[in-house]
Symmetry: C2
Subunit: 341 residues, 2 copies
C-alpha cells in the first residue's frame, strides 16, 4: 500500500472560493458575511473535482491513499479574526470530510485549525475535537505563523502552543507544520515562505527541549524538511554547539520529513541523510508545481518515481510508503486495520 | 590557488565588541557614544587574532586566500539609526582593510554596508566608495533584511535597491546576499534566518526580471544557496509556472552559490545539481559551526574535504576553487594578476 501523507483539496469547486471572497469582502465592509449554509456544493461536484484530478493522478501513479486536508494557501489565517477563521475552517474541514466519505478507500482527512494572529491557540480545540471525533481526522495542520509571513507568534516550543499539543497527545495525532499564503512581499508563498517555515520549525525544535515536555508529540515537516536535510551537517554541528544530544536522540523520535522534493537529486539526498524511519512518502499533489519537467518528461510532483529510483532497499521503501505513516498516524492505522489492510 | 570567498572577521580583539557595546548602551541613554578613535587595536593584536585562527586553519587546510568581511552576525543593522550603522561599518571595514594590509597574500577585503531599517540604501554609497577606492575591497555584503528578521524592506528587485546596484555595476563588484543577527525570536540566526534569507533572496530574483535591468549584476548566495539546490526541481518548476525562462538563462549568469554546506552529501548534491561555473569555494570559517563532526573526525566547516571528495573532475574543481572566483570578483583577479598569479 502506498500512502501519500500530504495532499490538499486544491481543486475544490469554485463555489468555495466565491464564498470565501464574500467573507473577505464583508471584512472590508462590503456586504454581509455569508452564512455557512449559503455554500452549496453537491456530492457530484465533489466527486468530479476529485475523480478528474487527485484520484486520476493517484491511479496513474499507483498511490492508494492520501491524507487530505484543506488547501494550505487558502487557510490564510491572517485574514480577519478568530470568528472569520472559525467559519472558514469549519467549511473547509467539512468538505475534506465529505471527500473522505465519498472515497473512503482513497482519502482520509486531516484538519486545518481556525488559527488567528494573536489569538490563544486553545480557541482551536473545539474544531480540532469535532474533526477528530465526528469526522475521523487522523492529523492536523498547524501553522507556526498565522500572520502570513510576519512571524510574530511565539516559537513552537513556547507554552502558547501547549493546549494544541496536549490535545494532540491525548488523541495521539501528529501535526504537519504548514504555513499558508504569505502576505509579506519579501516571501513568495511556495518558493520561499513554505521552505523557510520548514527550516524555522525544525530549528525551533532543535534549540528547545519541547520533546522532553511532550515525548509522544510528533511533527511532520513538509517539503522534504525545507533546507534541513541539505544542511544536516550544519544542524548536527549547531546541536553540538548548543550542547544538545545527537539529533537522532534529540528529535528523531518526534520529527519526520515528507518526500515533497521535486527532483531525483533531492530525494537521493533525503534518503541518504535522514534515517528511513523518519521519511514519509508524499507528493503534495496537485499543488505548487504542476508542470512536466522537460529534463525527465514527467511531472515534477510525481515523487513516487524519485522514491522508486532512490538507493533504498525494498523493505526500506515499504517503510517510506506505508509502515512509517501507519506508525506516525495511529488513527490511520486503526482505520486501515478495521478494513483488513 | 584555492580562494575562499566567504570569511568574516569573527575573531577580532575584544576591544571591538566593547566599543560596540558602549555604542549600543549610548543608544539606550547610558553614557556617551564612543568616538571612532577611542577604539585602539594595535597591529600586533590584529596579527595575532588572524595568525592563531583563520590563517592557521587556512594553512592546515591548504586555502591560499580568503575574501574577508566584517563579522556578519555583528553587522546588526537593526540596532540604532543610520549614524550608528555608519560609525560601526566604518570601523569594521577599516579593521578588515588593515588585516588585508598585514596579510596581503592571504586576505582581500569585502565591505559591510551601513544599512539601517527604513533608510534609503543610497546612504550606503559613500562607505561603499571608500571601501572600493581607498581600501581595495573587491565585493560587498548586502543585507536584504536590515530589520533583523522582520523582513519589512522591499524585495531585492525593487528600485529601492537600485542605487547600490548601479554602483556595483560601475565598479564591477558582486554582492554576497547576507543577513545578520535575527532579533525575531522565531528565527535562530545561523540555523534558520541565514538559510531562509538565502532561499528568499533567490526566489526574489526568480520572480523578477532584475537581471534584465542589470545584466552584469552578480549575487553570491551563501550557505550553499539555503534550500535552493536541494529543491532545484521545485524552483525549475516554479519558474515554468511563472512563464520565466529556464533558470540557466534567467539567473545563472548572475547568481552564484558558495560551498558553505557542512557535510559530504550536501556538497555532493550541490555539485550534481548546480552548474560548476556557478559554484564558488567557501567555508565561512571561523563561523557558526566550529566543532568536529564525530562522524568524520574532521571539522564540519572544513569544506575543502567535501569538495575534494565530490564527483567533479580536476578541471572543474579548479573552477570551483579559483577560476570562478576570479571571474565573479574581477577586482580580485586584477589584484592577483598584478602579483603574477
Amino acid at each position: 500500500m502506498i500512502i501519500d501523507v500530504h495532499g490538499h483539496y486544491t481543486t475544490a469547486p469554485k463555489a468555495l472560493e466565491s464564498w470565501r471572497n464574500r467573507q473577505i469582502e464583508a471584512i472590508a465592509g462590503k456586504g454581509h458575511a455569508p452564512r455557512a449554509d449559503e455554500l452549496r456544493i453537491g456530492d457530484d461536484e465533489l466527486r468530479e473535482s476529485i475523480e478528474s484530478n487527485q484520484l486520476r493522478l493517484m491511479r496513474e501513479r499507483g498511490i492508494d491513499l492520501t491524507i487530505f486536508s484543506p488547501r494550505a494557501s487558502f487557510m490564510a489565517h491572517h485574514i480577519g479574526d478568530f470568528a472569520v477563521s472559525s467559519a472558514w475552517a469549519a467549511i473547509c474541514n467539512e468538505l475534506c470530510y465529505r471527500v473522505s466519505r465519498l472515497f473512503p478507500d482513497h482519502f482520509v482527512p486531516a484538519a486545518m485549525l481556525p488559527q488567528s494572529p494573536g489569538v490563544d491557540p486553545a480557541t482551536c480545540i473545539p474544531e480540532l475535537v469535532r474533526c477528530v471525533e465526528e469526522f475521523g481526522n487522523v492529523a492536523i495542520n498547524l501553522n507556526p505563523d498565522p500572520s502570513g509571513g510576519h512571524w510574530n507568534s511565539p516559537p513552537l516550543w513556547d507554552r502558547h502552543w501547549y493546549p494544541i499539543y496536549e490535545k494532540m497527545v491525548e488523541y495521539d495525532i501528529p501535526a504537519m507544520i504548514h504555513v499558508s499564503t504569505s502576505c509579506n512581499p519579501s516571501f513568495h508563498t511556495t518558493g520561499a515562505h513554505y521552505l523557510n517555515a520548514d527550516t524555522t520549525a525544525f530549528m525551533q525544535c532543535l534549540t528547545s527541549d519541547l520533546f522532553k515536555a511532550f515525548p509522544t508529540l510528533r511533527f511532520v515537516i513538509p517539503h522534504g524538511g525545507g533546507a534541513v536535510p541539505y544542511h544536516w551537517g550544519r544542524f548536527r554541528g549547531l546541536a553540538q554547539e548548543l550542547k544538545k544530544p545527537l539529533l537522532a536522540d534529540h528529535l528523531l523520535h518526534n520529527v519526520f520529513f515528507d518526500t515533497c522534493v521535486y527532483h531525483q537529486p533531492g530525494i537521493d539526498l533525503l534518503t541518504r541523510v535522514i534515517p528511513v524511519d523518519n521519511i514519509l512518502f508524499a507528493s503534495e499533489m496537485i499543488g505548487a508545481v504542476r508542470g512536466v519537467d522537460p529534463e525527465t518528461g514527467h511531472y515534477y510532483d510525481d515523487t513516487k518515481r524519485y522514491v522508486e529510483a532512490a538507493h533504498v532497499e525494498a523493505g526500506e521503501r515499504r517503510r517510506i510508503y506505508e509502515t512509517n505513516a501507519r506508525r506516525v498516524y495511529p488513527r490511520l492505522d486503526q482505520r486501515l486495520n478495521a478494513k483488513g489492510h
